[in-house]
């Protein structure tokens, strides 16, 4: 029980640190940087990342086990660029790209391209509403299967 409470506390501190970094326009923190920031051993952060991934709060890169996604943010480049408040991020998909603007609660825009033909597309959010942009969003997988393969989804 004590271990579980300690894990819960550390996992919360890790989660808070990750989103603090991302929301302030920094890259997703590595295991080493997170360990430094929280003054804990890297092995403890590595285990915390795994627990957060198991709980579907993070998606980790297959080899390094560093962060791939802390949704709605992608730690690796994607075709969904988001700009707001002088910062730039990547979203894993169009829903998450809009989710970044919803999370930062700032005017901003998503720069992407039509999934079919590659035509450049920009969606602009101002004062909490869609101000500019056209198109439709396609969800390929039924909702119950989104986490079967979240990277593909």
């Amino acid at each position: 029980m004590v271990d579980e409470q300690q894990h819960d506390r550390l996992d919360f501190e890790i989660r808070r640190h990750i989103y603090d970094q991302l929301l302030n326009g920094h890259a997703a923190p590595t295991i080493a940087a997170t360990a430094d920031a929280l003054s804990v051993e890297p092995s403890a952060v590595r285990a915390g990342f795994e627990r957060l991934a198991q709980a579907r709060n993070l998606v980790l890169q297959e080899g390094s086990r560093e962060i791939m996604m802390a949704q709605p943010f992608s730690a690796v480049p994607t075709p969904f660029h988001v700009e707001a408040d002088g910062h730039r991020w990547w979203g894993p998909c169009i829903w998450d790209a809009l989710g970044i603007l919803a999370m930062v609660k700032q005017d901003g825009r998503v720069l992407t391209a039509c999934g079919d033909c590659g035509e450049a597309m920009t969606l602009t959010i101002k004062e909490g509403a869609l101000a500019e942009g056209e198109g439709i969003i396609h969800f390929g997988l039924p909702a119950k299967h989104w986490w079967d393969n979240i990277v593909f989804t």
């Binding site: 079919d116 439709i136 039924p142």
Partner: protein, 73 residues
């Protein structure tokens, strides 16, 4: 989830990749879903992943109904 210029472009993409057509949302629906899903601050100790009941209520509020949006079964 991808953005397309129109329904026609969705159809072409599905045909090209031999994928079944899923569901399409207007940009307004997508923005509303993004706000509801990602609006709560994940640095808040009280934040938690949405439960199935909460997601079902959210989908219903946004009129995302039908088998595609069902989470159970």
């Amino acid at each position: 989830m991808l953005l397309f210029r129109s329904e026609e472009h969705v159809d072409r993409w599905c045909a090209l990749w031999n994928r079944p057509r899923g569901a399409t949302l207007s940009l307004e629906q997508g923005w509303a879903l993004a706000q509801e899903w990602y609006g709560p601050d994940r640095r808040d100790p009280a934040w938690h992943r949405k439960t199935v009941d909460e997601i079902e209520l959210l989908f219903a509020t946004l009129r995302l109904t039908g088998p595609f949006w069902q989470l159970r079964g």
